[in-house]
């Protein structure tokens, strides 16, 4: 048997004393093939490795430099979000959502509020919708910017990282002015928002939308026709449309494979059907197309932001929160001076908002793909089950398929192209 494995302490095949199959060598060569080329090697990447974008562990079985098998191991960041959510009121779950996909916290907040509102049957105001659209699209931009920067580093280009983080800082400033936090925004509440945008904030965002695409143009100049970039990405990690659907992929991963599916277009929420934007769709399903799709999505998000800003100007002074007193706290001034309002405030904060027994699933188009929150309620103020449909978890599941037959160095590029965030994969 010529195959060598790196793993130590292998047991002989068979059952151990507890009746489980004892561990076996990873690869077992065919009897008789003892040429050098058949030697397999085991390479372990992660869980603490700069190119795995978090604490992902990949075990690769190599034949020469070709990947025979890739086994991802996840769960190194499992923090028990879903369990914790069962012990919290609906509004208290909002801060948890910041920390699942921490590259796009505001979009997660919006999804949670929408799912809880669907469960409770609450309509939100138009101004709130517009502000939520702004939050979602800003998140899409910062999330794709991180992807661009880190993928650039993985493929040997450091400059886009500095560019994209500079632009991220500009959005962080806006986020901070709006919510008080750079990263953990906790922006939404059921039936409305935590706060309205401060005075002059729109001008800041307008300034951003007007100048931000220059960075994208620069990245475009640097990458799109760069022969190194094309060589590393074109035809690598290919997935066909049928496979992509069969793997339940979503977001840019699905669209790069040529499936024209975007939750914002196909089951619109927040009035997305009234905005004018295009959904980029790839045709080859390789890394290059995923890059093109994400780059174009940032341009489109910018377009949506500009339209939303126009609407926001029109809706100046319109109410932000719904007037449903079941879910909305009385204004602080009244709570401080009026007994009833104070009791109302106290009860709502301490007892939470009961949701009618039932269940609701709501999916939104997050930067990574379709993020879905699934609530099961039993009439109390805490959900029986809060399920996150994690887009990067489902997208990552096709990694073994993508890596099969690729070169070792391509694995890094393929893994980067999936655009994962471990906080959401492991939850």
């Amino acid at each position: 048997m010529s195959t060598r494995t790196v793993e130590m302490a292998l047991a002989t095949p068979g059952l151990d004393e507890r009746g489980r199959p004892s561990r076996l060598p990873l690869s077992i060569g065919q009897p008789g093939d003892d040429d050098m080329g058949a030697e397999h090697m085991l390479v372990n990447i992660g869980p603490q490795h700069p190119a795995t974008h978090g604490v992902l562990r990949l075990v690769l079985e190599l034949e020469g430099e070709t990947v025979k098998r890739c086994i991802p191991h996840i769960g190194y960041l499992h923090s028990g979000f879903e369990k914790l959510g069962e012990y919290r009121h609906y509004n208290q779950i909002v801060p948890l959502t910041d920390r699942t996909d921490y590259l796009s916290p505001m979009a997660n907040n919006v999804c949670l509020a929408l799912a809880a509102e669907k469960l409770m049957g609450i309509e939100i105001t138009e101004r709130c919708q517009v502000l939520r659209v702004i939050a979602c699209e800003m998140s899409r931009i910062i999330s794709h910017l991180v992807w661009l920067g880190t993928t650039g580093i993985d493929l040997g280009a450091f400059t886009p990282f500095l560019w994209s983080f500079y632009q991220r800082e500009r959005i962080y400033n806006l986020q901070e002015a709006w919510t008080g936090a750079r990263l953990t925004t906790s922006l939404t509440r059921i039936g409305g928002m935590m706060a309205d945008v401060p005075d002059g904030w729109e001008a800041g965002l307008r300034d951003f939308t007007a100048t931000f695409t220059r960075t994208l143009d620069e990245v475009d100049t640097m990458f799109t026709r760069n022969s190194i970039w094309c060589g590393r990405t074109q035809g690598v990690g290919v997935l066909t449309a049928e496979e992509a659907i069969n793997f339940s992929l979503s977001g840019p991963m699905l669209r790069a494979s040529g499936v024209d599916y975007d939750v914002r277009k196909d089951r619109p929420y927040l009035g997305y059907e009234t905005y004018d934007f295009d959904v980029p769709v790839g045709e080859h399903g390789d890394i290059y197309d995923r890059y093109r799709v994400r780059l174009e999505e940032m341009y489109q998000s910018n377009r949506i932001l500009e339209q939303a800003l126009d609407r926001l100007a029109r809706l100046k002074g319109a109410p932000l929160n719904t007037d449903d007193h079941r879910v909305i706290l009385p204004p602080k001034g009244r709570a401080m001076s009026d007994m009833e309002a104070m009791i109302h405030h106290f009860k709502q904060v301490m007892e939470g908002i009961p949701a009618p027994a039932g269940e609701a699933y709501l999916g939104v188009e997050n930067p990574k793909g379709e993020l879905g929150y699934y609530f099961v309620a039993d009439g109390t103020a805490k959900p029986v089950r809060w399920r996150i449909r994690p887009p990067s978890f489902i997208n990552l599941a096709c990694l073994p398929k993508l890596c099969e037959g690729a070169l070792l160095s391509d694995v890094i590029a393929i893994n980067a192209s999936v655009d994962i965030v471990m906080g959401e994969i492991d939850r």
Binding site: G75, K83, I245, A360, Y361, Y374, R387
Partner: protein
Amino acid sequence: MTAVAPALSPSVDALRAAFGSAVLRAAVSCGDSIVWVAADRAHEILAWLKNTPGQTFNYLTDVTAVDYRDPDRPLEVSYQLRSLSRKADLRVKIPLDKAQPLAVDSVVDLWRGADWLEREVFDMFGVTFTGHPDLRRILMWDTYAEGHPLRKDFPLRGNFTRAEQTRQALAANPEAHYSMEELSIADAFNELPEDMKRRLLDGQRGELR
């Protein structure tokens, strides 16, 4: 609040016509159509929903499970299906009596995307998916001994003391368990298809395709 009462998905009637009593009941909640089906025919029903023209639920959005606070209520495994072309959704739920062993047929052969999702349900709820090629814990480590975290009888902070949890965690070997043969989870092993058991036992490598 919308006044229009949302209608049950037409797929439910088609299901009733085709499978009769295997369709236990159906309901609409917050606009989502839900249909409860019997565990022993679930795989058949899901395959029918995927492959029948006019249904074409070709996209598996999510697989999850719900353990209710009421201990007598069955645990439910739920499949969230979608038809991309028809833009329709359907949630198929399989109630499992908690007094019996929790087991349903795996749908990995229909949707490859179910692979990790079912492993997660197995990890978090202890539901066995018969016929799954690689059923083992995914989020917790293989030797995790405290149970299935999302069950309602599992306390938020775990079953062991923090010191014991720390000790067990530090005793885990970060390099252990490399291949699919690491799937040495006792219950999962017994659920494996006969040929895979044989291959594992005489030391052959399993196919993961």
